[in-house]
């Protein structure tokens, strides 16, 4: 039997050394694997970790890739802090996108960017409504929110599939399941820098993160609402004695995270795809769970975690392009990285006892 007991005090020294040690171990294991498979290990590590930073447009692509992960991750942070397990951000992402996209397609000739502002709100509502289902079932009937939110992901996937094949299919798409292109007003433009032009795919949606991170930081650390969420998560009994309504908090965090997932979807699709298609999310809602935990459930941490995950994903593509390393191998490496980072964190927080009781 292995038992985990929380440490009384987390040592500052180890909080600093822990992640570094995790990375060193990852690198060692990476070197072993790549050497064993016959790839130049130094070159591979360079491609995965460094090459995404080697050109300024590549750096901007990291942020483009990280953008939805960070927004969804921050939404999930509220839930996980309150010990509410929303596993269905993927579905909320899809439903927010779908509702906002359907709204945009009602105005085929609108050019004013007011439309995209409306879509962000509608996306929030769409995602929040989808999260409302597990929320109401949890608070009224005490139904497990993990199962409900997860299962609703598949409902959402099939629903958007049905919508773009049927009601919203572009008659000019030769039978392919695609909606009409969004009107100009529904698109998020790329940022044009004076003297350089565009930097990769970098778009104005990134600005949302710049506002979101300080706002959530203040909310979590400086307001009563944030305090309630923290207390409910870390000391449910204390929360009850203090008279905080568990149901209200559960409802709030689920709606918030659902809404943010919806907003992430709107930004992602309006900036990068520009129409509805059967697949809009590519697993962002699930990857964001890792991002939230890797970022230790803090807004700034999630920013860094999102960047790390995005870097490794981009690096994996680069390694494939330049060295022909298959994605399964770089995927394995990603897994090792996450394993060590999360193990390191667990070891900092918990003492581990081995015992051989019968």
């Amino acid at each position: 039997m292995i038992t985990f007991t929380p440490r009384d005090k987390v040592s500052n020294y180890w909080t600093l050394i822990g992640p570094i040690l995790s990375i060193i171990l990852t690198v060692i294991f990476g070197l072993l694997i790549f050497t064993f498979l016959g790839f130049d290990p130094a070159e591979t590590l360079y491609q995965i970790f460094i090459s995404p930073f080697s050109r300024i447009d590549r750096v901007s692509d990291i942020f483009v890739k990280a953008c939805p992960l960070i927004i969804v991750g921050i939404g999930l942070m509220f839930c996980f802090k309150a010990n509410v397990w929303n596993i269905g951000a993927e579905g909320q992402f899809i439903m927010g996108t779908l509702l906002a996209g359907a709204f945009a397609l009602l105005f085929p000739n609108v050019e004013t960017k007011l439309l995209i502002i409306c879509m962000l709100f509608i996306g929030f509502i769409g995602g929040a409504l989808w999260a409302f289902i597990p929320a109401i079932l949890k608070t009224r009937l005490n139904v497990n929110e993990i199962l409900v939110s997860l299962m609703l992901v598949y409902v959402a996937m099939l629903f958007i599939d049905f919508i773009v094949r049927g009601p919203l299919r572009d008659p000019m798409s030769f039978g392919f399941p695609l909606s009409k292109p969004y009107p100009e007003g529904a698109l998020i433009n790329k940022i044009s820098f004076p003297g350089i032009g565009y930097l990769g795919q970098l778009h104005y949606g990134i600005l949302f993160i710049i506002f979101l991170i300080p706002l959530t930081w203040i909310f979590i650390n400086k307001t009563l609402g944030g305090f309630k969420i923290n207390v409910l998560g870390s000391a449910p009994k204390a929360a009850r004695f203090a008279g905080f309504s568990k149901d209200k908090i559960t409802m709030t965090v689920l709606l918030l995270s659902g809404g943010l997932a919806g907003v992430a979807g709107v930004i992602e699709v309006s900036a990068n795809i520009g129409q509805l298609q059967p697949e809009v999310s590519f697993g962002y809602g699930f990857t964001a769970i890792i991002v939230a935990f890797l970022g230790r459930l803090s807004p700034v941490g999630i920013l860094f975690a999102g960047v790390i995950i995005a870097t490794v994903k981009l690096g994996a593509d680069n390694a494939q392009m330049t060295m022909g390393i298959p994605k399964v191998v770089t995927g394995l490496f990603e897994g090792i990285l996450l394993f060590f980072l999360l193990t390191g964190e667990t070891l900092q927080k918990y003492k581990i006892k081995w015992s051989w009781n019968k």
Binding site: R55, V64, K65, F174, G195, Y198, N272, F282, P326, K327
Partner: protein, 368 residues
């Protein structure tokens, strides 16, 4: 301050372009070719067929080409990034091998007017984006002929990916082949709603067999259907590549997508400065829509069938090759009895891409 920033920026842009210039020029000799794959060659279907095409390019050009491949690229923002990255790395011609790369390919092509892009199975073109496609339906006609001669239950089970024109024209071509030799047989279709999902494909195959089908056909990518057929004593056809290794007793033959010659031709055109997007009609077919006669679709060895059937199938192949068989020649009637075209006329390519009905010989109706 702003001025300073601008200066730094322009300095950066200048040095970047100088470096780019040096890099691209010093490696000018081999033609740099990029490929973007939807899944991995391990799918033994669609992407594997492209991989085989790529290998033919390697064999033909040797050290005269330098190939970069990116596999498992989802059809969304990642595609745009990957294609742009391939362009930045100095690839001179980039093949994007799935329909969903259409918008990403066009987007990136606009930014790199000097690089040639080849979008496989798309319908939107531009100055430097050409499109290529295969007349997959020709192989399905031959499948229909073989199925019609081989079936004992007169029930054919067909697994479709999505109810889009490409798949529907395949089903209809199959029906035309089937009815050319056997008026009593009919086709039932199950939609898998995926291009590649061995579990779903296998389930669909089991349902077909349980309902009495003894011949299975598929318009999805994995060998799962044939494996089920093999286990249950049914017969079927391989998709995209020869799948007889997965079902030595069940595969009658496979329609193989042969992209190699197309890739080689386009790369040669590029090297001779003759690359072009052609000026085909603006339907879904692409600039280049080759079939059996141009060797873009090949038919694997006929097996698990009597010689008499193989002979008939061979005749059908030759008929399509020399044009004596017109698959969609009138009179054509859909499965509700409505006339599509009268005798003496033939559906043109544009009409094929508008197909949203089943011809006689197919049960049920097109969903959606």
């Amino acid at each position: 301050m702003l001025k300073f920033c601008k200066r730094i920026f322009s300095l950066f842009a200048l040095s970047a372009s100088v470096i780019f210039f040096i890099v691209t020029n010093s490696f000018a000799s081999p033609t740099k070719v990029g490929f973007v794959y939807l899944t991995t060659p391990g799918d033994h279907g669609w992407t594997y067929a492209h991989e085989l095409g790529k290998q033919m390019v390697e064999k033909r050009f040797g050290n005269d080409v330098k190939i970069s491949v990116v596999e498992n690229v989802p059809e969304g923002p990642d595609a745009t990034r990957v294609i742009r990255e391939l362009a930045k790395q100095g690839n001179e011609i980039i093949f994007t091998t799935s329909f969903g790369y259409m918008e990403p390919t066009l987007k990136v092509a606009k930014e790199f007017p000097n690089i040639k892009f080849e979008h496989i199975t798309g319908y939107k073109r531009s100055k430097n984006v050409a499109t290529g496609n295969i007349r997959f339906y020709e192989g399905r006609y031959i499948q229909g002929v073989v199925a019609g001669l081989m079936t004992k239950t007169n029930k054919i089970g067909y697994i479709g990916a999505y109810p889009i024109a490409e798949v529907i024209m395949g089903i209809n071509a199959f029906a035309q082949g089937l009815r050319s030799v056997n008026k009593d047989a009919s086709i039932s279709v199950i939609w898998a709603n995926t291009w590649y999902d061995p579990v779903k494909e296998a389930d669909a195959a089991k349902v077909h067999i349980a309902e009495g089908a003894d011949i299975l056909a598929q318009h999805t990518d994995s060998p799962a259907m044939l494996q089920i057929a093999e286990k249950n004593g049914a017969l079927g056809f391989g998709q995209s590549t020869d799948m007889s290794a997965f079902a030595p007793k069940a595969q009658l033959f496979a329609s193989e997508n042969n992209w190699g010659p197309y890739y080689i031709k386009k790369i040669e055109q590029l090297q001779n400065g003759k690359w072009n997007t052609g000026d085909g009609p603006d339907h879904w077919a692409g600039n280049e829509w080759g079939g059996i006669s141009s060797d873009m679709l090949t038919i694997s060895k006929f097996q698990n069938m009597p010689d008499s059937v193989a002979k008939k199938a061979e005749e059908a192949v030759n008929g399509i090759k020399n044009g004596s068989i017109k698959i969609f020649a009138g009179p054509l009637v859909d499965n509700t009895g409505k006339e599509i075209i009268p005798a003496g006329k033939t559906l043109d390519d544009g009409a094929l891409w508008g197909m949203n009905y089943y011809l006689k010989g197919v049960n049920g109706k097109v969903p959606g």
